[in-house]
């Protein structure tokens, strides 16, 4: 059973297109995240949602729009893709609630986005 699953695993598209990445977790966690890993393997948080509410939004261009239809899903939509968006995008989840933050995060296997 995959705990945090992302689709698609690979995404190759042209500059200017709009694309979405989906993420689902079956761990019953309340909090979900999106991270970007660049070509030098540096990881940086983009967004975090808790039970469909946006909690963390880190200096990300507004071409990136997360959407959380329910607490088990957090999708990432990207408009007008640019060359610099090429990266690996990771979804994660954790059970941060009731004042118990800093819980371990569980990661998906990543979506490798390549912009031509």
């Amino acid at each position: 059973d995959t705990a945090v699953s992302q689709t698609p695993k690979y995404l190759v598209t042209q500059m200017g297109n709009d694309k979405s990445i989906k993420c689902e977790q079956n761990l019953g966690h309340d909090t979900m995240y999106w991270y970007k890993q660049d070509s030098k393997k540096f990881l940086k948080i983009m967004f975090s949602y808790n039970n469909k509410e946006l909690i963390i939004n880190e200096t990300v261009p507004n071409r990136f729009s997360p959407k959380s239809p329910d607490k088990a899903h957090l999708n990432l939509h990207i408009n007008s893709l640019e060359l610099g968006d090429s990266a690996v995008y990771f979804c994660a989840s954790s059970q941060d609630e009731g004042g118990r933050t800093n819980q371990p995060q569980h990661f998906g296997d990543g979506t490798r986005l390549s912009i031509l």
């Binding site: 030098k40 393997k41 808790n50 954790s94 995060q105």
Partner: protein, 115 residues
């Protein structure tokens, strides 16, 4: 603001010899620290975490880390390396943000294990 510094971008050891991956942190309060491992084309897997309990933390696959406040360090060690340990390792500091946690990652250390 909190940060972590991984002092080595690449470490190479022989199979069966000890592993030491170094990490220093900066935090204005008592930090929560983690080590994650990333195998090729995979997501990140938690190795161990420190959250102000015992300063020597044991993790999976024989790894452990010691929190040293006086040195602001959280180095990862393993007594005997195995070929399957070859991967990218990330030291991470966590900051609670209401009902979420913001992770700040180090730049990673690539561990190579040779025969």
């Amino acid at each position: 603001a909190q940060s972590v510094t991984q002092l080595d971008s690449h470490v190479s050891v022989s199979e069966g010899t000890p592993v030491l991956l170094r990490c220093n942190y900066s935090s204005s309060y008592s930090p929560s620290l983690f080590w994650y491992v990333q195998h090729p084309n995979k997501g990140l897997q938690l190795l161990l975490k420190y959250t102000s309990a015992a300063t020597l933390v044991k993790g999976i696959n024989g790894f452990e880390a010691e929190f040293k406040k006086s040195e602001t360090s959280f180095h990862l060690t393993k007594p005997s390396a195995h070929m399957s340990d070859a991967a990218e390792y990330f030291c991470v500091v966590s900051e609670g943000r209401g009902t979420a946690s913001k992770l700040t990652f180090g730049t990673g250390t690539r561990l190579q294990v040779t025969l």
